[in-house]
């Protein structure tokens, strides 16, 4: 698809901006630190890179500009000519040519200086060569001042040109200035075109779009043309000439018979004749505007005759309209569109492609000339047309709803339309869940058949005596073996589990069995299990073990004896007291630091408040607080390593 609009061309910088962009990019994107002590190859590489990078950037940017603009030989002749009249094709080409020459020159400079830097002996020399290279590139760019300015202007103008598609369905409106071309465009499309009562209001091409028969048409409003030779025409007029010459379209030649536009009828006819060569192979209409003022019939003999000269040959048709009273506008539009469509279809049929497609189309017909009638079921054919006023009319769901209480009350009965074997089943309740299972999961179309088959089989088996019970024989010996086997199995399982749990130690140390703590109860159990008397052992262990602490024993004794004052204290209170005592003694060993050094409640709240305030800043700035523990390195590397040149050890 050939491009028709150029709205996305990137802005073209001025030469100074261009230079700033490129050079600052070089400084940003290449390394900047180099010292004369470095190896010469490294120094050379450093500067080579700078020169190469600058050249690359220049080339890239210039190429981007060159690619952004359309190539005149690639675009549609209409656009090419339009650009020629607006921007002067030679000028345009030269500007682009200068850019591409500059690109080549910069590449050449880069090549030369890269070669020279390879022979450079010192950092200073490298640097000077780089400087010279960039300077020469900058000079070349500075010479592009004018072309860049020109291209920027072209870009801006090009972006605002209307998007005219030269191949689509087009109505082209042309004629003398001030004959009502723009007002016609306004009345048939939504284009916002300026209409003023003076000549050359429209200075360039304007496009509007409208639909006819669901097809999109474009209407193009052209600036007015004066009747003089092509060479004398100015840019404004040349635009319309370009449009007339290159666009495949219907041409609507507008005329103003009232001569309000300031040009006589004769002059208008003369113009028509002089631009007639441009109308070749196009559909042309002569449109008489402002018929609310003067109609063609009202003219005198001479003018009538002149107008007839335009219509000679029968190719050209005359139409009438008035933009002021909007009389005949749609007529003109429709007629023009109709003719255009017909012409386009005809043209399309002539092309090879149409023939190709037509060859491939085959419409199949019944053999033997049988006619196949359309089949309409009787029920449909005999159906009476629904009539609201007929008392015998069909009853609709709507009627039923109204009868049953209206919307919101009536609930539509979906079951009545069920198609079942028996109509009585329609309203049966069907459970969704039965015995905790979704009924729908078990629905099978041939469940009935399967069930019948199963039942038959069952009957058969029963008849054969398949289910008759057999005598089970089991003697005592066997039962005994079974019990023992179960016992063995269980024991094995237990051993296995124990081994497994041992393995579960993973990384922990294996404690020798002797050191493993064993409860007294465990020992007793295991002894009893193997059938030994454990009582003496247990007795001995009890006597050896340490009992409750001495304090506890004494306290217990005191409570047993009882003081006079505590006589009436119940046992419950005593236990409470002991608990409290214990807690207190534990607290006494570690003082509560929140309360240390604070005399009373008021002082404490104050201290808390101050502490909070002090913490606030630290928290806000995410500083390290006293709660953040940090151990610094005991021997910081940066303080204890390296040679000492200037300064003392303390300086570090």
């Amino acid at each position: 698809m050939v491009q028709t609009t150029w709205k996305a061309i990137a802005p073209v910088p001025t030469s100074q901006e261009f230079l700033d962009i490129v050079l600052s990019r070089t400084t940003r994107k290449t390394p900047t630190v180099i010292r004369s002590g470095f190896k010469i190859s490294r120094i050379r590489a450093f500067y080579l890179r700078k020169v190469k990078f600058t050249q690359d950037t220049f080339t890239e940017k210039l190429q981007a500009i060159l690619d952004g603009f359309p190539k005149l030989q690639d675009i549609h002749p209409f656009h090419k000519d339009l650009m020629n009249t607006l921007y002067d094709a030679d000028h345009f080409r030269i500007a682009l040519g200068q850019l591409s020459t500059a690109k080549h020159l910069i590449e050449q400079v880069c090549r030369d200086y890269v070669r020279l830097i390879k022979y450079a002996q010192s950092l200073f020399q490298c640097k000077q060569l780089k400087r010279a290279a960039l300077g020469r590139m900058a000079t070349i760019t500075r010479r592009l001042k004018d072309p860049l300015l020109y291209l920027e202007q072209v870009r801006q103008h090009l972006g605002r040109l209307p998007g005219i598609d030269p191949n689509t369905r087009t109505l082209l409106i042309c004629g003398y200035p001030n004959v009502g071309k723009s007002s016609f465009l306004r009345s048939i499309t939504r284009a916002d075109v300026d209409v003023q009562p003076y000549a050359f209001t429209t200075k360039s091409l304007f496009v509007g779009h409208f639909d006819y028969k669901y097809l999109r048409f474009q209407a193009i409003d052209t600036p007015g043309i004066l009747d003089h030779p092509l060479e004398e025409m100015n840019t404004i007029e040349m635009q319309s000439i370009t449009a007339i010459a290159h666009l495949k379209s219907v041409i609507l030649y507008f005329m103003d018979l009232s001569e309000q536009c300031g040009y006589s009828v004769a002059a208008q006819v003369q113009l028509f004749h002089s631009i007639k060569p441009l109308f070749a192979n196009k559909i042309v209409f002569v449109v008489v505007n402002k018929i609310d003022v003067v109609k063609p019939e009202d003219l005198d003999e001479e003018s009538q005759k002149l107008i007839q000269t335009m219509l000679k040959g029968g190719e050209v048709e005359m139409l009438q309209l008035s933009c002021h009273t909007e009389q005949g506008i749609s007529d003109v539009k429709n007629k023009a569109c109709e003719r255009l469509l017909a012409a386009r279809v005809e043209q399309k049929l002539k092309t090879n492609r149409a023939v190709d497609i037509l060859n491939r189309i085959h419409v199949a017909r019944p053999i033997g000339g049988v006619t196949r009638e359309v089949f309409i079921p009787d029920a449909v054919k005999n159906r009476v047309k629904y009539d609201l006023n007929d008392p015998e009319r069909r009853k609709l769901e709507k009627d039923i709803e109204a009868e049953e209480g209206g919307a919101g009350v009536y609930n539509i009965n979906l079951k009545k339309n069920y198609m079942l074997e028996n109509d009585d089943w329609k309203f049966d309740k069907v459970p969704e869940i039965l015995d905790g299972k979704n009924v729908y999961d078990f629905i099978d179309p041939d469940i009935e058949a399967k069930l019948a088959a199963l039942e038959a089989e069952e009957e058969r088996l029963e008849a054969e005596g398949f289910y008759d019970e057999e005598e089970s024989i089991e003697d005592d010996e066997e039962a005994d073996i079974r019990v023992k086997a179960d016992f063995i199995r269980e024991q094995k399982q237990l051993i296995r589990n124990a081994a497994r749990s041992k393995k579960a130690l993973k990384n922990r140390a294996i404690i020798p069995r002797q050191k493993q703590p064993k409860n007294l109860s465990e020992m007793r159990n295991s002894l009893e299990k193997i059938g030994l008397d454990a009582s003496t052992v247990v007795e001995r262990a009890r006597s050896k073990s340490r009992g409750r602490s001495a304090a506890g024993r004494s306290r217990a004794a005191s409570t047993m004896e009882g003081d006079v004052e505590m006589r009436d204290i119940s046992m419950h209170d005593i236990s409470q007291m002991t608990l409290k005592e214990r807690a207190k003694s534990r607290a006494r060993s570690q003082s509560n630091r929140r309360e240390d050094g604070v005399t009373d409640e008021g002082a404490r709240t104050k201290a808390e408040r101050i502490a909070k305030l002090n913490q606030k800043k630290m928290n806000r700035m995410a500083r390290q607080g006293e709660a953040d523990r940090h151990t610094t390195a005991s021997l910081p590397k940066h303080l204890f390593s390296g040679k000492r040149t200037i300064g003392k050890t303390n300086r570090r």
Partner: protein
């Protein structure tokens, strides 16, 4: 879609904002403040660029101010007073003529000296270490270093062929050979690129002259037939001497002044 000059059209239809004039005035008044603010913040390359631009702008401004001032000053030629001067004041005109005389003498002397002078009378000495790079030859055992490469730009004649490697003591690299020089005619003030014919004298040493080394201050012979100069006898001058004015190894080109 808006098309063609829609911006102008909109402005024509709707006009500008009511406070447009005031806004533009204020913006203009504020411009200096904004630029000062940004200038204070800039650093690095952007600061350099800004300073450069500002420097140029200031020069322009000062020039303009000066021109305005000149316009406003009413200049009037000091008219010769009608009254006759007293004799002790008549002497005031004397120094002028004396000055003219002395300058004439000076010029004469200068002209005399000019016969033996060149545009660049003094040159920086260049050591051999700087001029030559030692090239080691020989393998493993017998490492020799008798070969030299010239690190400065050179001129070699058109019919030059290198000597066999074994006998070539001085290498003049291809990349540093120059055939053309940008020659300025000091009186006409034009610069033309001319082909070099030969190296006449390198002030550093006669050996460099022989080798054709191009350094600052070297006298070269250039082909001036393009300039169309004519001798007093009416013959077209072909070769002319010129002195190199730049450090060719640093600039990547040879610039010279024609000796006239």
């Amino acid at each position: 879609m808006p098309q063609n000059e829609y911006i102008e059209r909109w402005e024509k239809l709707h006009g500008k904002r009511l406070d447009h004039e005031e806004r533009t005035r204020k913006r203009r008044a504020r411009e200096a403040h904004n630029s000062s603010k940004s200038a204070q913040k800039l650093h690095g390359l952007r600061a350099k660029l800004h300073a450069q631009a500002r420097y140029k702008q200031k020069i322009q401004m000062k020039k303009q101010i000066k021109s305005h001032e000149e316009k406003s000053v009413k200049t009037s030629d000091p008219k010769p007073s009608s009254e006759p001067l007293p004799p002790y004041l008549l002497d005031r005109n004397e120094p002028k003529s004396a000055k003219a005389l002395s300058s004439a003498i000076k010029q004469k002397r200068a002209e005399k000296a000019a016969k033996f002078s060149v545009p660049l009378p003094k040159v920086r000495g260049i050591s051999e270490e700087e001029m030559f790079k030692v090239i080691k030859t020989g393998k493993k055992t017998a490492k020799k270093s008798w070969k030299r490469m010239i690190t400065k730009p050179t001129f070699v004649g058109p019919d030059f062929t290198r000597r066999p490697v074994k006998y070539e003591r001085f290498i003049r690299p291809m990349g540093l050979r120059y055939k053309k020089a940008n020659v300025t005619h000091p009186e006409l003030g034009v610069t033309v690129q001319l082909p070099i014919l030969s190296v006449k004298k390198n002030p550093q040493s006669p050996m460099y002259t022989q080798l054709g080394v191009l350094t600052k201050g070297t006298i070269i012979e250039v082909n001036v037939s393009e300039l169309g100069m004519v001798t007093t006898g009416g013959k077209v001058v072909w070769g002319r001497w010129a002195q190199i004015t730049n450090n060719c190894e640093n600039d990547g080109c040879v610039n010279a002044v024609l000796l006239v």
